[in-house]
C-alpha cells in the first residue's frame, strides 16, 4: 500500500533533494544515507540497546518479543508516532480512507495489483523527500489525496464511480462533494450547431420511450413486491426471536415456491387439457360425504385429482384417424395432444427442473455460508458477530444477552476441557455412553420400521377392514404417532449423553430424527410398490397409492396441529400455573424443519399418482405458517442453544435435496421403469411399463419421416445408452475432486500468509521498542541538560554563601 510513513528525524534538509525527482535507481543513495543515520544513532544507543535486550530477556523469558512497556507509560512522542501508524489510522482517519480508496480505484482501473513505481514507497527505506512532513495527516495532505482520488474517479464509468462512492465509509456530505468534483463537465458538448435540432427530436422520442418502459417496469416490480407476502409478520418474528427462528419461516417460504412451480407445470400440461376434454365416467359419481377431506377417496376418486382419471389416448384427435377410446370431437384449429406422453414427460420435466433449482440453491447457500478456516477463531467470531441487530424488543434483547453470556461461558468451559485432557477411564466411559445411546436410538428407528411393516401387513390381510373407509385412516395415524413420539424419546435419551459441544448436539439430534423418518418412509414405499401392487391386481392400484399419500399428508397436518396445541400451548399453561416457571417452552427449530421436509417428501412421492397433491401441500403450508406464527408469538421463546442461521439453512437445503428429493426420484424411477401399470385405469393402461409411452412415441416418430429422425437417434444413443451416463458421472466426479484440491490449496496459502504477517508483526514490535529507547535517551539527555543549567545557576549563590560564611 502506498502510504507514506511519516517520521520525525533530525536530518537537515539538503537543498539539492527538493528539486530533483528521486527515481528508484537512486535507491542505493537513499539507502546509504539512512544507513548513516542508523549508524549515528546506534553509536550513541549501543549501550542502551544492550541494556534493553537484557531487560527484555529478564522480563519475558520467552523467545517472542513483546512491547517494551504498556502504552500508557510510553513517551508522548512515541505515542504520537504509534497513533499515526497506517494500520491504526485506517480505522479512524478520513485521509487514510481516502488514500485507501484511491489505491483501490487505481487497481480497478489499471487491473494490476502492483502500484506504479513512481508512487512506490518502500516501508523499510523511507525516501528523503518525506522527512519534512508532519505527523498527523494535515489538511493540505488530505486535499492532495482527495484531488488524486477525484482524478481517478473521473476516469471511471458512471456506474462504476457510483458503485465505488456507495461503498466508501465516508459521510454523505463528503461523498456528495466527491461526486460533484468528479462529475465530467459536459459543457463543451452543449450548443452544437447544425445537427442539434434533429438530435434533440430523436433524443426526446427516445427519452419518452424509455420513460414509458421504465414506468411499466416499476409497476411490475411493485406488483411483484406486493405479491411477496408476510413481510411485516417476518419482521415481527425476527424482531422478537432473532434470525434462528426466522430461518424456519424462510424455509417454509422456499418450500411454497417449489410447490408453486410444480403445480404450475402440472396444471398447465396435464390437468388443463384433461379438464378441457373430460373422459367418460365409468359409473355414477358417488355422493360426497365429509370424510373425503380426510381419506381422499369417495367422491374425489374419479376426478383430475388422481391418476386413474386420465385418458390413455390422444386428445383432440382429428376425426380422420381415430385411436381406440378417443372421442371424435375436435375443436376447430386445435392440436392433437398425446396424453400418456404428456403425463410422463411433464412429471419428468418438472422433477428435472425441481432438481436443478434445488441443487442450484443448495450450492448458492453453501457458497455463502462456508468459509475456509471458519471452524477456528470461535471466541472472536462469537464476540464480534453474534449480536443480532434486528432484535427490537427489550425482553428479547435481554434474552439475547443471556444467551450470549451462556454461550461464552460454555465456550470457555469447552476450551478449559480441551486444554486439560481427560483421563483414559473418563474417555472410555464417555464413549460407552455415547455408543449405548446411539444403539438405543437406532433400535428405536428399526423398531418403528418393523412396527409399520407388521401393521401394514395386517391391514392387507384383514378383509373386514378393507370395506370401511374410516379404517383406511388407521395406518396414517399410526405412522404419524410414531413420527411424533420417537423423536421425543430420542431427545430424552440424548439427555443422558455427555454434552461436549452444543452445536454437535443439534446435528446429532437432526441425524437421528432423519434416520427414523427414512426408515419409516422406506418401509412404506416397499409396502406400496411391492405389496399393494400385487394385492390390487385388476383394480386401480395407482389411485390407491395416490389416496394413501393424500391421507398421510392430511394426517401429518392434523397431528402437527395437535402437537402445537399440546406441546406448546398446554405446556406453557402448565409450566406457568403449576410449575411456576418463568421460562416458556422453546421453539424446537430442528424438529419442525424436519417435519416440513417429511411433508415435502410425501408430496414428491405422490406427484406421479396424484397430480393435484402439490396444491394440497400449498394449502397445508399456508395453514402451517399461520398456526405456527400464532403459537410462536403466544407461547414460545427463542432457543437457548446456539444457532448458526446461514449454516443451518444450508444443512436444511442439503437435507431437502439429498435424502428427501433423491429418495423421491428413486421411487419415481422405479415406478416408471419397473412396475407394470394397472390395466383398467390411467394413461398407461395398455403398456408394460410407464416408460413404454416414450418408446412408442419414438417409434411413431421414426415411422413419421426423415425430418425428425434426429430425435429417435438422440433417444437411442443418449437416453438408452449407459456409456453417456458413465461419462457424465465421471466428469462430475472430476469437477468435485478439483474443487476439493482448490480448497486445500487455499488453506495452505492462508497458513503461509498468517506466518508472514506474524513475522512482520515482530519486526514492528522491534522497531517500536527501538524507537522508544531512542526517545527515552533523548528525554534523559534533556533532563540532565536542564539539571546542569540549574546547577550552573545555583552554585554561584552557594559560593557567595560560602564566601560569606
Amino acid at each position: 500500500m502506498a502510504q507514506p510513513l511519516a517520521f520525525i528525524l533530525d536530518v537537515p534538509e539538503t537543498p539539492g533533494d527538493q528539486g530533483r525527482d528521486l527515481s528508484p535507481y537512486d535507491e542505493s543513495e537513499v539507502h546509504d544515507s539512512f544507513q548513516q543515520l542508523i549508524q549515528e544513532q546506534s553509536q550513541c544507543t549501543a549501550q542502551e540497546g544492550l541494556e534493553l535486550q537484557q531487560r527484555e530477556r529478564e522480563v519475558t523469558g520467552s523467545s517472542q518479543q513483546t512491547l517494551w512497556r504498556p502504552e500508557g507509560t510510553q513517551s508522548t512522542a512515541t505515542l504520537r508516532i504509534l497513533a499515526s501508524m497506517p494500520s491504526r489510522t485506517i480505522g479512524r482517519s478520513r485521509g487514510a480512507i481516502i488514500s485507501q480508496y484511491y489505491n483501490r480505484t487505481v487497481q480497478l482501473r489499471r487491473r494490476s495489483s502492483r502500484p506504479l513505481l513512481g508512487n512506490f514507497v518502500h516501508s523499510a527505506r523511507p525516501s528523503l523527500r518525506l522527512y519534512d512532513l508532519e505527523l498527523d495527516p494535515t489538511a493540505r495532505e488530505e486535499e492532495e489525496k482527495q484531488s488524486l482520488l477525484v482524478k481517478e474517479l473521473q476516469s471511471l464509468a458512471v456506474a462504476q464511480r457510483d458503485h465505488m462512492l456507495r461503498g466508501m465509509p465516508l459521510s454523505l456530505a463528503e461523498k456528495r462533494s466527491l461526486r460533484e468534483k468528479s462529475r465530467t463537465p459536459r459543457g463543451k458538448w452543449r450548443g452544437q450547431p447544425g445537427s442539434g435540432g434533429v438530435c434533440s427530436c430523436c433524443g426526446r422520442l427516445r427519452y419518452a420511450c424509455v420513460l414509458a418502459l421504465h414506468s411499466l417496469g416499476l409497476v411490475l416490480l411493485s406488483a411483484l413486491q406486493a405479491l411477496m407476502p408476510w413481510r411485516y409478520a417476518l419482521k415481527r418474528i425476527g424482531g422478537q426471536f432473532g434470525s434462528s427462528v426466522l430461518s424456519y419461516f424462510l424455509f417454509l417460504k422456499t418450500l411454497l415456491a417449489f410447490n408453486a412451480l410444480l403445480l404450475l407445470l402440472l396444471v398447465a400440461f396435464i390437468m388443463g387439457p384433461q379438464v378441457a376434454f373430460p373422459p367418460a365416467l365409468p359409473g355414477p359419481a358417488p355422493v360426497c360425504t365429509g370424510l373425503e377431506l380426510l381419506t381422499g377417496a369417495g367422491c374425489f376418486t374419479h376426478t383430475v385429482m388422481y391418476y386413474g382419471h386420465y385418458s390413455n389416448a390422444t386428445l383432440n384427435q382429428p376425426c380422420g384417424s381415430p385411436l381406440d377410446g378417443s372421442q371424435c370431437t375436435p375443436r376447430v384449429g386445435g392440436l392433437p395432444y398425446n396424453m400418456p406422453l404428456a403425463y410422463l414427460s411433464t412429471v419428468g420435466v418438472s422433477f428435472f427442473i425441481t432438481c436443478i433449482t434445488l441443487v442450484y440453491s443448495m450450492a448458492h447457500s453453501f457458497g455463502e455460508s462456508y468459509r475456509v478456516g471458519s471452524t477456528s477463531g470461535i471466541h472472536a467470531i462469537t464476540v464480534f458477530c453474534s449480536w443480532d441487530y434486528k432484535v427490537t424488543q427489550k425482553r428479547a434483547s435481554r434474552l439475547q444477552q443471556d444467551n450470549i453470556r451462556t454461550r461464552l461461558k460454555e465456550l470457555l468451559a469447552e476450551w478449559q476441557l480441551r486444554h486439560s485432557p481427560r483421563s483414559v477411564c473418563g474417555r472410555l466411559r464417555q464413549a460407552a455412553v455415547l455408543g449405548l445411546v446411539w444403539l438405543l436410538c437406532l433400535g428405536t428407528a428399526l423398531g418403528c420400521a418393523v412396527a409399520v411393516h407388521v401393521f401394514s401387513e395386517f391391514m392387507i390381510q384383514s378383509p373386514e377392514a378393507v370395506g370401511q373407509e374410516a379404517a383406511l385412516l388407521v395406518l396414517p395415524l399410526v405412522v404419524g404417532l410414531l413420527n411424533l413420539g420417537a423423536p421425543y424419546l430420542c431427545r430424552v435419551l440424548a439427555a443422558l449423553e455427555p454434552h461436549d459441544s452444543p452445536v454437535l448436539e443439534v446435528y446429532v439430534a437432526i441425524c437421528r430424527n432423519l434416520i427414523l423418518k427414512l426408515a419409516i418412509l422406506g418401509t412404506l414405499c416397499y409396502h406400496w410398490l411391492g405389496r399393494r401392487v400385487g394385492v390390487l391386481q385388476g383394480q386401480c392400484w395407482e389411485d390407491f397409492v395416490g389416496q394413501e399419500l393424500y391421507r398421510f399428508l392430511v394426517m401429518d397436518f392434523v397431528l402437527m396441529l395437535l402437537d402445537t396445541l399440546f406441546g406448546e400451548l398446554v405446556w406453557r399453561i402448565i409450566s406457568e400455573k403449576k410449575l411456576k416457571r418463568r421460562r416458556k417452552p422453546e421453539f424446537d427449530i430442528a424438529r419442525n424443519v424436519l417435519e416440513l421436509i417429511y411433508g415435502q417428501t410425501l408430496t414428491w412421492l405422490g406427484v406421479l399418482f396424484s397430480p393435484l397433491l402439490p396444491a394440497v401441500q400449498i394449502i397445508k403450508l399456508l395453514l402451517v405458517f399461520y398456526v405456527k406464527k400464532t403459537s410462536l408469538l403466544a407461547n414460545c421463546q427463542a432457543p437457548r442453544r446456539p444457532w448458526l442461521a446461514s449454516h443451518m439453512s444450508t444443512v436444511f437445503l442439503t437435507l431437502l435435496c439429498f435424502p428427501a428429493f433423491l429418495g423421491a426420484a428413486v421411487f419415481l424411477c422405479y415406478a416408471v421403469w419397473q412396475v407394470k401399470p394397472s390395466s383398467t385405469c390411467g394413461p398407461f393402461r395398455t403398456l408394460d411399463t410407464m416408460y413404454e409411452a416414450g418408446r412408442v412415441w419414438v417409434r411413431h416418430l421414426e415411422a413419421a419421416g426423415p425430418r425428425v429422425s434426429w430425435l429417435p437417434w438422440v433417444h437411442r444413443y443418449l437416453g438408452e445408452n449407459t456409456f453417456f451416463v458413465f461419462l457424465v458421472s465421471a466428469l462430475l466426479l472430476a469437477v468435485i475432486y478439483l474443487n476439493i484440491q482448490v480448497v486445500r490449496g487455499q488453506r495452505k496459502v492462508i497458513c503461509l500468509l498468517k506466518e508472514q504477517i506474524s513475522n512482520e508483526g515482530e519486526d514492528k514490535i522491534f522497531l517500536i521498542n527501538k524507537l522508544h529507547s531512542i526517545y527515552e535517551r533523548k528525554e534523559r539527555e534533556e533532563r540532565s541538560r536542564v539539571g546542569t543549567t540549574e546547577e550552573a545557576a545555583a552554585p554561584p549563590a552557594l559560593l557567595t554563601d560560602e564566601q560569606d560564611a
Partner: protein, 213 residues
C-alpha cells in the same frame, strides 16, 4: 415549501439513492440522461427514502417538520435513542456517536440518519458493514481494539448488571483467547484489517448487522 408532507425533491432523492444502499432493490433500471435541462435520474426510492424521512420528521418538533428545515435540523441523541429499532440495542450510544457529523458529536442530521440506515440496510456490502462495526466497537476511538475496548464490548454483550457480567478471570481468559485467535501480528491489539479478517469468516455477520425500518 411548507406543509407536513414528506416529499423530497426528485434531484435530492436521486442523489441519495445513488450514494446510499437504501434503494437498490426498488430500482429496475437506472438511466442517466444528460440533456439540455441537466441530468435527471429516475428511480422509485420513494418508499424507503420517504419512510426514513417520515420517521426522522416524527422526531422533530412541529415547526421544523417542513422539508427544508428537516434537512438542516439536528436531532439530539435522546430523541434518536427513543426509536424502537434502537431502543433495545446495547450499542445505541456508540452507533449515534459514530454516525454523527456535528462538531460536538451530540446530534444527528437527516443525512447522518440516512448514512446509518444505509450501512445497516440489506444491500450494503460486508466491507462497509465491517468498517462501521469496527468503529462502533472502538470505544476509545483510537483506531484499534485493545483489551479495554474488548472488555467493554463483552460487558455490553452480556449485560451491564453485576450479576450478569463475566467474572474477572473469565473475562481475562476470554480476551486472551480472542487476541490469540485474531491478533495476527501479535501487537496486543486488533486493527481494522484483522477485524475484517475475523468477520469474513462468519457468514452470519451480514444478516445480523441489519436494522430494518
Amino acid at each position: 415549501m411548507g406543509g407536513s408532507g414528506s416529499r423530497l425533491s426528485k434531484e435530492l432523492l436521486a442523489e441519495y439513492q445513488d450514494l446510499t444502499f437504501l434503494t437498490k432493490q426498488e430500482i429496475l433500471l437506472r438511466e442517466v440522461l444528460d440533456n439540455e435541462t441537466g441530468s435527471e435520474r429516475f428511480g422509485d426510492c420513494l418508499r424507503q427514502h420517504s419512510e426514513a424521512h417520515r420517521r426522522f420528521c416524527e422526531l422533530l418538533p412541529q415547526e421544523q417538520r417542513s422539508v427544508e428545515s428537516s434537512l438542516r435540523a439536528q436531532v439530539p441523541f435522546e430523541q434518536i435513542l427513543s426509536l424502537p429499532e434502537l431502543k433495545a440495542n446495547p450499542f445505541k450510544e456508540r452507533i449515534c456517536r459514530v454516525f454523527s457529523t456535528s462538531p460536538a458529536k451530540d446530534s444527528l442530521s437527516f443525512e447522518d440518519f440516512l448514512d446509518l440506515l444505509s450501512v445497516f440496510s440489506d444491500t450494503a456490502t460486508p466491507d462497509i458493514k465491517s468498517h462501521y462495526a469496527f468503529r462502533i466497537f472502538d470505544f476509545d476511538d483510537d483506531g484499534t481494539l485493545n483489551r479495554e475496548d474488548l472488555s467493554r464490548l463483552v460487558n455490553c454483550l452480556t449485560g451491564e448488571g453485576e450479576d450478569t457480567r463475566l467474572s474477572a478471570s473469565e473475562m481475562k481468559q476470554l480476551i486472551d483467547n480472542i487476541l490469540e485467535e485474531s491478533d495476527i501480528d501479535r501487537d496486543g491489539t486488533i486493527n481494522l484489517s484483522e477485524f475484517q479478517h475475523v468477520i469474513s469468516r462468519s457468514p452470519d455477520f451480514a444478516s445480523s448487522f441489519k436494522i430494518v425500518l
